[in-house]
Symmetry: C2
Subunit: 471 residues, 2 copies
């Protein structure tokens, strides 16, 4: 299908349906991706103020066959928000639609516009003594519409699920401007096909999310945070089982961190207080969030004690207060930034069936080390089976030189993941970075049905062309 | 589209691809629905033994344009499994695909074939000290494929979600026999559009579910069950908030039951031990399931005590042992059977935003009583906002006579639900009973997109024709 650039004539056409404030400068921050790996282009950036304006923009783009890239906080890691070539797209930013319309502690429901920033949503939930549990490193700039479009994960998936599990309803503008009114606050609604979940995770290729009804949770009454050094990832999983046997859903987060993670933090962000010095080879960050009647600090101590006796834990530090708990989390959350500053040869956001996970880490290490003297930073959401398995040049090595290995390393890691029944995109999505992987590893029948759905929802192929499905 | 009956010539064709045991007698139990309201027909009933055989059947049906009704346990309440007219369909029963392939307590995953009976799945989970939380009155005959196809709800949705939330992956045979291999055991997998959730709740109109990977949960260490008489449904909701503030996710179930429910049980199933005599106008059944370290009985007592002080509870009985807890649940689970024995003028499976729920009950009662001397049995899953709002003839009234009011009552109740932002099918689905409601109350854009998806997945319209979407 031939698409046309968002040229000045098209911009003029939009002036009839948009207020002047909607027209934004095409500045670099719309076009660069967070890791600085590559840049996109755009003919025009607009930020409509409401759903009617989004609908008018899409209608015009549909008629003029102009590609549209829906844009949230720009924090995506797989290039879903970056169109590198082809006709210059219209970049449709949700940045002006940031209202949090309601936050109801009785219904445990919040209704927010797509451009609301994740940390603002956290604050609004806290104001009514509730929790919106989706949390990730980019929470200060990520927008909820993008979080939903990519089915974001983060550190609380273990307990509360991913973005998909936290959404009750969506308002979505379709490719041709029609508005799907699905902003339901209902917990149960079995009236027809599940279009909400079809939109969630479709990365802006089936529609533009403009508002969402979100599930809120009770805030745990007491929390405890600890770092535990574990002999290996299998011990980490055993520790997780132990913790869950003790406190059930009370395990809010369970993150695996490698010694290499701390070494990178020491090198690039030395001001951060690291939990262990020297760093153990493997450690886990545990957060408990418990109801009234249970002492979280005591529960954590008792879990660690039993783990110690079973030789699942070699050393541990418990946060003694709120500030220290925040410092513990800061260490975890700054790992991606340290990685960025080091510069990776290849990064992998992968998941595995839990019982295959320890064997994967062993096999992958041997394999990657066999390919060169790489440094591996393996960390992530252990309880979800989701690893960020990132490969870096040797100490003092020149990244530019080692980048020639990127393709080979990526392919080998992804082949192994696939062989071990895992996924090559656990939480970041396909974007434009992994369309080849989806074709290589995805079920062919699934791909056929995805193409059929795309054709039905966006017959001219204007929505985020080249993302998820190759053009 | 013209479809052809599953006639003897088509049966002969299937003999090439199916073993002789797959051919079943077209007996009445395949054709009657649980409430006995109407019957279906079928030209042929087959029960394939594996996914390859299901695929071969669908391929043949697709080529011959023969309608196919996928059939699980036959417990659906909206006629999704009953085709009353048109060309005689092939009824495709999953009754021979009952294997539970794995139940892994480390991964917390079970893989089961679609024909596995829900209570067998419960037992298999219990064997590995885990919980599969989906539970409903028909658990002894409902099959998991049907539970997923209808996105079944039940009594534990409050804590664990509905069928959708308990499924990690699906194997599905499409209309033309292609097999969608999505039997993933992964907790996180963002590789492409969410076809799993599109299939879940599509009621056999987009594909035939043949196997599923299911999420297991830790078994709560201690449970407590109580009945509390509450002054009104609003007090019930306040009691739920109180309980959740105390024990968080530990509230496993919270069911509203009306005095009318107990009166019907007394009339039709007098051998059941009722919790209160005389029956209060409203009561709730509460189940707590708590981790180690918390005494569930003490937690329940303390919740009830505070509720008593706040005048949210007028009377309460706590189950003193396992047997009594089962008796308490038996009362709840036999309500649909008592209703069936009385015979309703109109039954409604509805949901409302929680904050509209008490007002709905008041307004609906006034409205229905204004239409005649009906008896109303309102009960259901209060925490989910899901009511079973059922209308019966007056004491001693002749059902046949009062059934002339069915259309009028149903319409009035559904109109009110819609006005109050609720759903006219909370957990039972659309089936064939509510296709008119879906057209009347559903978002027109949603309906358009549903039709587009149906056309893409089943171009000849052979899969469960007339269910969900009118032909």
């Amino acid at each position: 299908m031939t698409l046309n650039s968002a040229d000045p004539a098209f911009a003029d056409r939009l002036r009839d349906v948009l207020d002047p404030k909607a027209f934004r400068e095409v500045s670099p921050h719309y076009l660069d991706e967070p890791r600085g790996t590559w840049s996109g282009h755009a003919g025009l950036v607009v930020a409509p103020a409401d759903v009617a304006a989004v609908s008018a923009v899409m209608k015009a783009a549909h008629e003029a066959r102009v590609p549209v890239v829906p844009y949230g906080g720009g924090t995506g890691l797989v290039g879903g928000q970056i169109m590198p070539d082809g006709p210059a797209p219209l970049l449709l930013s949700l940045e002006r639609m940031t209202a949090i319309r309601t936050a109801d502690p009785v219904e445990n429901v919040m209704v927010a516009e797509a451009g609301a920033i994740l940390s603002d949503i956290h604050a609004a939930a806290e104001k009514v003594d509730r929790l919106f549990p989706l949390s990730l490193a980019a929470k200060g700039s990520a927008r909820i519409g993008g979080n939903l479009a990519t089915n974001a994960g983060g550190v609380n998936v273990l307990r509360y699920g991913n973005a998909r599990d936290l959404c009750l309803g969506l308002e979505v503008v379709l490719a041709d401007g029609r508005v799907l009114n699905g902003l339901s606050r209902l917990r149960k609604d079995n009236t027809g096909y599940d279009l909400r979940n079809l939109m969630i995770g479709s990365e802006g290729t089936l529609g533009v999310i403009t508002a969402a009804a979100l599930k809120l949770s009770p805030r745990p009454v007491g929390t405890a945070v600890a770092y535990a050094a574990v002999p290996d990832p299998a011990a980490g999983l055993a520790l997780l089982s132990l913790a869950r046997d003790r406190v059930g859903e009370g395990v809010s987060a369970f993150e695996l961190i490698s010694g290499q993670s701390l070494a990178f933090l020491e090198e690039k962000l030395p001001q951060l207080r690291r939990p262990f010095d020297p760093a153990p080879e493997w450690m886990v960050l545990i957060e408990l969030g418990l109801p009234a009647g249970l002492e979280p600090q005591a529960a954590m101590e008792s879990i660690i004690e039993e783990a110690w006796e079973r030789e699942l834990v070699a050393d541990a530090v418990l946060a003694q207060n709120e500030t220290q708990a925040e410092q513990f989390w800061e260490v975890r959350e700054q790992i991606p930034e340290a990685n960025r500053l080091i510069g990776s040869v290849s990064s992998h956001d992968i998941s595995l069936p839990l019982s295959n996970l320890p064997a994967f880490i062993d096999r992958a290490s041997q394999m990657v080390m066999g390919m060169g003297p790489f440094r591996i930073n393996c960390f992530g959401h252990l309880g979800d089976g989701n690893l960020h398995y990132n490969v870096f040049p040797p100490q003092g090595g020149d990244l530019a030189e080692w980048r020639s290995h990127t393709g080979e390393v990526k392919r080998a890691v992804h082949d192994l993941v696939h062989e071990m029944e895992g996924s090559v995109s656990a939480e970041h999505g396909i974007g434009r970075l992994k369309t080849g992987d989806l074709e290589r590893y995805g079920d062919p029948v699934k791909l056929e049905m995805m193409r059929a759905i795309k054709a039905a929802f966006d017959p001219h192929g204007i929505l985020n062309p080249g993302a998820v499905l190759k053009g």
